[in-house]
Symmetry: C2
Subunit: 518 residues, 2 copies
């Protein structure tokens, strides 16, 4: 069989599996335990077993992905969609808390996992690991995967909790990847205060520049679509331009050694705030749903792949003679993850409660537990980072590296499946309200996000005054809203007249009315 | 620079170029001469020159595509979208004529080009070519690219002409690729009547089975979405399932050695007839536009790539010492293309006029000229097939093969740019009406297709009686409509109750009304 035919066969099988995942995921939607991620992971595991069987133990993959594949093709749509669909008001209202969780929290978790590993791993006698490896481990296991929890939480009933978990998830992804890149690039052989400071400054510069880049690309896109009046000729061009510009922000950031995740996230936020209002109504519907679909497919792809990849014999062979070590390493890592997470959720929530004057807005203990729980799962980002670090050109060379890979896989599998299975019952017990509501109308799978994602939807114009009053009240309740008001004024007077946005595109309304009539 | 970084750089540059193409294509929309394809081709050429300059004459590519890339990723969305957006009524009304042009015509053109090449090429002294090579040449240069003409024709004013050119384009693509595959697979060393018959039967079996596969996958998709009631939970899953099932039809056909193009085309037709009516209104808008967008991006990608690739120094170096031969070969091929096309357009049109009783439906001489002209351009399919045949693993080995590659590139460039530039003025002179209308509202770039693509749109329910009357009149005018009526009855009584479709999905209407109100 020549390689081309084989490749076609593999793609066909993978596409069939994806279809299977979608159908099964739909059927199991109302299941008490399972969710989309676990289903895809289990299907991946099952297929891996089958392939392992039929290939006589040689391979468990359908497609041999490189880790770059995840970073170049699968992660951008997921993060972009997160930015595009985020409830901007909630996100920016809780901006401080989210960033404390996402940046400071991730750094605390990183420090604890790294430190714990340096102390505990030598006891296992797994071979020599450099300081850099331990730091990389910390970054790898700081990357959470909150998809599981978000599928259970109800944005309407617990908007604060939802926005915190969601926001932390995105900022955490960006922080851990940025941290990981900083570690691999930096020479950390002799750590003193100076290098630590330099490291910190480079990390925050990277953070700032990436955000700036994303915002810039988003604004350019909005400006182009607005001034060139794209809708006149073609809805497809608008949609294509938005997709490509978003991807451009990600890949440009990567080219310049910045964080693509941060860039594409903020590009998504800016696009949904400006560019989305400049396109025709048809494009608005199309972008909303097609971005969500792309993100959905990418997510299923990743879990399916992780499931298959976790049976890769090449990686397990190295730890064959010492399975105990791998299991112990996994247990140590899991415990460190749990401690590392508790170590920042409690103090940051406490601090956040201190600066919130509104009683309803405080983060109670149950909420804190849910936030802690939501970040225990490890997913695609951890896997991809571990491959990037511990495999040279796809091959596991050193035994210690092989052990770290297998431990990563074990942690991801265990946390996604076991913690994942417990999530639904646990949250429904803690927050009993959410068990009663079922989605009543056909909507997106990231339904709570989509439905009110564009909370400044032009259609809800009559609700605006109400929202304005609410935000006036907020101004006195919380200090961060003061900045918000200034921003709003600036947005209304400077930004929107230039870049478009709700209420600043004349022809869009005409089109919309036409659409409704036809 | 390590390969990964370089790859990221290349992707970034390619994405930026794509954005440039979209913006420029939009700006040049009203140009008298240019169109999207030519713009992308010219930008590709320009970039190729630049890269050639900066790399010191080493390379002209940004990304080194393999020809499989075009077949596996870029062609399926284009063909699927063609099937999905085709005006089914017009298409099936002219089914016989379209198939005569597309199948019989392509075979005639193939025969003439192959025969002409066997006679004329030996005079050029370009080295030995097998019989198989000549036959492959015939198949390669029978694949037309009618995008250029379709961009100029107006579906509302010349529906017959539009549907003929469009339909022929798709069927022609499928025929030539199927023909090409049959040639490369078959042992054609000793051609006698028996092998010729065997070849013909295998070709038609392939044709039939591919169509069947596409229809089957489309029906399964419709059935699944209908019975599992996908819209209840998620619009994304519906859209994702449609995309993946469509791709599955293409890739499955390829796995079984069938024609993916035919399969995915008919899968698109069936999906738009059944599955599209089973999804929520939001998914309907999303699929319509996102499929068109994917097709649009794929098309721009191909032309951009062809532009850059045409400056590939590796391929031109082989013909350096004999540029005259390459030019002569290109001229011979161009002349053969023109003759081969005229040789079937005139008789088939004449035959078609004989069986049409309605005077308005006859294909006049001007129309015949436009149909002839529309198929003179050669595009991505020719390039991809030529690479598949004449390059071994991406490298051009034999001088004769290199010459055929460069000739193919020359023919594609010349026909797309020169014939392409002449298309707009020519058609506006021949069909003076079409110059006056401009699209008045923002629509898709494949606007004429989209706007009335789903001519059985549920929204236009009040126009149905009118259409029914018109089709009753048609029944007596044209013999093919008799089959159409039987099909319609079968569709109404058997197919739609099972697979859904217009008027057979109860909950969709509810959703739609809700959407309009909100």
């Amino acid at each position: 069989m020549d390689p081309e035919t084989e490749f076609v066969d593999q793609i066909a099988l993978f596409a069939a599996l994806l279809c299977g995942c979608i159908v099964l995921g739909h059927l199991l939607e109302n299941s008490r335990w399972l969710n989309q991620s676990i289903t895809a992971l289990l299907i991946g595991l099952g297929t891996g077993c089958l392939i392992l069987r039929t290939s006589g133990g040689k391979s468990s993959h359908i497609l041999e992905f490189k880790q770059e594949f995840i970073f170049i093709y699968l992660l951008p749509p997921i993060i972009f969609n997160a930015g595009f669909q985020v409830k901007k008001k909630q996100f920016f209202r809780n901006f401080l808390t989210i960033n404390l969780y996402g940046v400071v929290g991730t750094l605390i978790s990183f420090a604890i996992i790294s430190y714990g590993a340096t102390r505990l791993f030598p006891m296992l006698d797994i071979g020599y690991l450099e300081m850099k490896d331990y730091l990389a481990l910390g970054a790898i296991f700081s990357a959470t995967d909150s998809v599981c929890t978000l599928q259970v939480l109800n944005q309407e009933e617990t908007p604060l909790l939802y926005s915190l978990v969601f926001g932390e998830g995105v900022v955490n992804d960006a922080t851990s990847v940025a941290l990981f890149n900083a570690i691999t690039k930096f020479d950390l052989s002799d750590t003193n205060l100076y290098t630590a400071l330099e490291f910190a400054s480079s990390f925050f510069r990277l953070f700032g520049l990436s955000t700036l880049l994303g915002v810039l690309v988003g604004l350019i896109c909005a400006f182009t679509i607005r001034t060139l009046y794209f809708g006149r000729h073609s809805t497809d061009r608008e949609v294509a331009l938005m997709i490509l510009m978003a991807y451009l922000s990600y890949i440009t950031a990567e080219v310049f050694g910045l964080s693509g995740i941060l860039a594409v996230f903020f590009c998504g936020v800016v696009m949904s705030h400006y560019a989305w209002h400049n396109v025709t109504h048809k494009s608005q519907v199309t972008t909303k749903h097609s971005f969500a679909t792309m993100s959905y497919i990418a997510e299923v792809c990743i879990f399916l792949y992780v499931g298959m990849d976790s049976l890769d014999v090449g990686k397990w062979r190295f730890v064959e003679d010492s399975p105990g070590k791998s299991i112990w390493a996994s247990i140590i890592l899991l415990v460190l993850i749990m401690i590392g997470r508790a170590a920042f959720i409690l103090p940051i929530s406490h601090f956040s409660n201190l600066i919130r004057r509104d009683g309803n807005e405080k983060i109670g203990f149950k909420q804190q537990f849910v936030i802690w729980w939501s970040g225990l799962m490890r997913g695609a980002v951890s896997i991809a980072l571990a491959y990037k670090k511990f495999t040279g050109a796809g091959q596991t060379i050193q035994p210690a590296n092989a052990l770290l890979i297998t431990s990563t896989i074990s942690v991801v599998l265990f946390s996604t499946i076991v913690f994942g299975l417990l999530t639904k019952p646990l949250i429904r017990r803690l927050l009993p309200h959410s068990s009663e509501t079922e989605p009543s109308s056909p909507t997106s799978s990231t339904m709570p996000l989509l439905e009110n994602g564009h909370d400044d939807d032009p259609e809800t114009g009559n609700q605006r005054t109400l929202t304005a009053k609410a935000s006036l009240k907020m101004l006195f309740d919380s200090p961060t809203t003061t900045i918000h008001t200034y921003w709003r004024r600036f947005d209304d007077w400077v930004m929107r007249p230039i870049f478009g946005g709700r209420g600043f595109v004349s022809y869009a309304t005409g089109t919309r009315d036409m659409d409704v009539i036809h």
